[in-house]
């Protein structure tokens, strides 16, 4: 993506934002009333999402997305590996490590500290260390994400590699299920890694309960396991390294309240069942809305986007058709569902 193009986008965004604010004032009485739906083409639906990808940031720059809560995937990857190695070297580690989260808006996204968060380094098609090859480093660990198709995980991967480079005594194998709901595959990955004789495992569990057995089986064989991104119902893991997801949800809710001026109708497109991290975000989001913005009404909060862009877009398209003209804002709790929702909104002409 070329820089000049982006700058134009920013200028445009500024203009659109001003316009947005203006019409917002004017339509202040409209939300709640059935006539003059705020979600019509001239103003567009407010979209608040989670995580940053090239496409999402671009849309943010054009004012099509009003806010994104971003995590720090690089730090997640880096901290996970460093913490795991620390524990392998018998040093004390914290049980819970928060890696921070931030709200990105069309207003603040050019600031340098935010830019670093939204353009993290990524690891693409990096060749892996062979798990059972000759051991060239002291420690050999496997890092298992929830999936391998989201940009988010590529940044986590980059962070993990960065840590490995800095430490110098650890080899990383990166391997995850392709679909972000394939619990069985993740269980088998852990089992295969144990059989291949790794020294440690860092895993982003797809399910807080289903992964307990294989993880504890690994721990029982003296292989320390660290959970990242999403927690596990077990107190035997080394540590839990993640964004404070609940707080991320709180940030998103406050941003929504701000843009809608505390009034409006909302669709919450959930991510997937049993995913601890996104459920936390959704909970933080709904809790905050209920507490601080009682006049924002939930139109739909029972639909799940599913594991891929495609599934999210499909679900979003049917939601939009179902509730056309009956909502002002949408919240999605991860990258794929935000992107799918954005594409669906674009397709329906509901974005500015």
């Amino acid at each position: 993506m070329s820089r000049p193009g982006k700058n134009i986008g920013i200028v445009l965004a500024a203009v659109v934002l001003v316009g947005c604010g203006g019409s917002d004032e004017g339509a202040g009485s409209a939300p709640g009333g059935s006539s003059a739906p705020a979600g019509s083409a001239n103003r567009g639906v407010v979209l608040i999402g989670f995580d940053a990808s090239e496409a999402l940031i671009g849309a943010l720059g054009q004012g099509r997305i009003q806010g994104l809560v971003v995590q720090n995937p690089i730090r997640i990857g880096e901290t996970s590996v460093k913490t795991l190695v620390k524990s392998l070297e018998k040093q004390p580690v914290e049980r819970r490590i928060s890696t921070g989260e931030a709200l990105v808006t069309p207003e603040n996204y050019k600031q340098p500290e935010i830019d670093k968060l939204i353009h993290p380094a990524r690891a693409e098609n990096v060749s892996n260390a062979s798990l059972s090859g000759p051991k060239s480093k002291k420690w050999k660990i496997i890092v298992i994400p929830k999936g391998t198709t989201h940009e988010f995980w590529e940044s986590v991967h980059a962070g993990a590699l960065k840590a490995a480079e800095e430490l110098g005594n650890v080899e990383i194998t990166w391997m995850g299920p392709q679909k972000e709901d394939d619990r069985t595959k993740q269980i088998e990955l852990i089992q295969s890694a144990v059989a291949a004789g790794v020294d440690g495992i860092a895993v982003a569990p797809l399910d807080a309960q289903a992964l307990v057995e294989p993880v504890e089986a690994a721990i029982a064989r003296g292989i320390p396991v660290l959970a990242f991104d999403s927690n596990l119902d077990s107190d035997r893991t080394v540590s839990y390294v993640a964004t404070d997801n609940y707080h991320g949800g709180v940030l998103a809710a406050r941003r929504l309240g701000e843009v809608l001026h505390g009034k409006g109708r909302l669709i919450l497109l959930r991510y997937a069942v049993g995913s601890e991290s996104t459920e936390q975000r959704e909970k933080g989001f709904t809790d905050t809305l209920a507490k601080e913005f009682p006049e924002i009404k939930m139109v739909s909060d029972s639909e799940y986007a599913g594991p891929t862009f495609d599934s999210a877009q499909q679900k979003a398209e049917s939601l939009l058709t179902r509730y056309r003209g009956q909502f002002d804002a949408v919240f999605c709790a991860n990258e794929s569902s935000t992107f799918g929702m954005m594409r669906a909104l674009e397709g329906a002409g509901m974005l500015p």
Binding site: A129, S130, L131, E188, V194
Partner: protein, 355 residues
């Protein structure tokens, strides 16, 4: 003209064909093993540095990973031999996990204290899970026989419907069975390291082997088995010979469903007692791939239990080997795709030369 050529073939087969038949038989039996050995050898070479690939631990792991696919594939073998296909296997498995989770949560508190202490709800749930699978299969078979629509379409429909039913029953979420309701032995069913160590492999693997033996014997020595081959080879002939084709179809798909139900029980145990409406997505394709790699023909009449098991092992070895060698997902998928095509082509060549 065709007749004349066949005449000659007939005469030739009567003469020195015996040796050829023996060779053909040897090749049929040994052929799939060759593929497995080649793939295993390849990964052993790739990971020669550590020697972990052929370690008993890893072999145990690979065996454990064939459990679910293998159990479902036994049923699929029977169905494919009879010229059918069942695309709803993965959805059935998901439905079974959900039904089991709901059943345990519902029934456990209703049981008297003495039975609760024994976790009696779990064995009951296992039976319910298997029967749920059988029911799904019977519905498939009933629709196929009753509506006379090809199995591909019917099971494509139930593939969606069973998944939808699972999601609906689970209210679109995951059903967690509290740990207090789960007996300690339940996870042990599918544990890679079996509890009494002398078992060598997971109890689930032993069960798979026993069932395989039973199915292999049934295919050869039972009416059901012979009738399946008849229907798969030529349905018209089967009808002509007085075989109740629609009735057999219901039975065959129900048996396939029971196998899928059992696979669902195993998946439920593997997931640690979680009913997941999205689990086992794409399982049906792995299962079909295993049967086809093992020599099953999608046009029916062909397929063996041994071949299917080897097909499952080939897939499991590939997936496990790729983890060991650090080969990324994308490459794994390409390799599995290539192997399916190569295996089936080789199989055809082999038969082409033999026939």
């Amino acid at each position: 003209m065709k007749e004349e050529i066949e005449d000659i073939e007939g005469i030739r087969a009567a003469g020195p064909g015996r040796l050829r038949n023996v060779l053909q038989w040897v090749w049929t039996v040994v052929g799939p093993f060759v593929g497995l050995a080649l793939i295993a050898g390849f990964f052993t070479y790739l990971t020669r540095g550590s020697g972990h690939f052929l370690s008993p631990d890893n072999l145990r792991t690979i065996a454990g990973h064939t459990m679910i696919v293998g159990t479902a594939a036994l049923g699929m073998t029977l169905i494919i031999i009879a010229g059918g296909i069942d695309l709803s296997v993965g959805s059935t498995v998901a439905l079974v996990t959900v039904v089991m989770a709901l059943f345990i949560k519902k029934v456990d508190p209703m049981l008297p204290e003495s039975l609760r202490a024994w976790h009696a709800a779990v064995p009951m749930a296992i039976v319910v899970g298997i029967l749920t699978g059988g029911l799904c299969g019977a519905i498939n078979g009933g629709l196929i026989a009753g509506l006379r629509v090809v199995p591909f379409i019917i099971t494509l429909g139930t593939y969606q419907a069973y998944r939808g039913l699972a999601t609906w029953l689970a209210s679109s979420t995951t059903i967690y069975v509290p740990s207090s309701m789960r007996p300690s032995w339940f996870g042990g069913l599918v544990a890679i390291q079996p509890e009494p160590r002398w078992l060598m492999v997971s109890p689930g693997v032993w069960m798979l082997l026993l069932l395989s033996l039973f199915l292999a014997v049934s295919l050869k020595f039972s009416l059901l088995g012979r009738y399946s081959y008849a229907i798969g080879s030529n349905e018209a002939t089967a009808r002509l010979c007085g075989i109740n084709v629609p009735g057999m179809k219901v039975i065959l798909y129900a048996v396939g469903g029971l196998a899928a139900g059992l696979a669902g029980v195993l998946d439920f145990a593997k997931l640690g007692g979680v009913g997941v409406p999205t689990t086992a997505a794409g399982l049906e394709l792995q299962v079909i791939a295993a049967v086809v790699i093992g020599g099953g023909s999608l046009s029916g009449g062909e397929g063996t239990v041994l071949g299917t098991l080897i097909g499952c092992l080939i897939i499991a070895v590939l997936q496990n080997g790729c983890v060991h060698a650090g080969i990324p997902n994308a490459v794994q998928d390409i390799v599995i795709g290539v192997i399916i095509v190569v295996a089936v082509t080789l199989d055809r060549l082999r038969r082409g030369r033999a026939a």
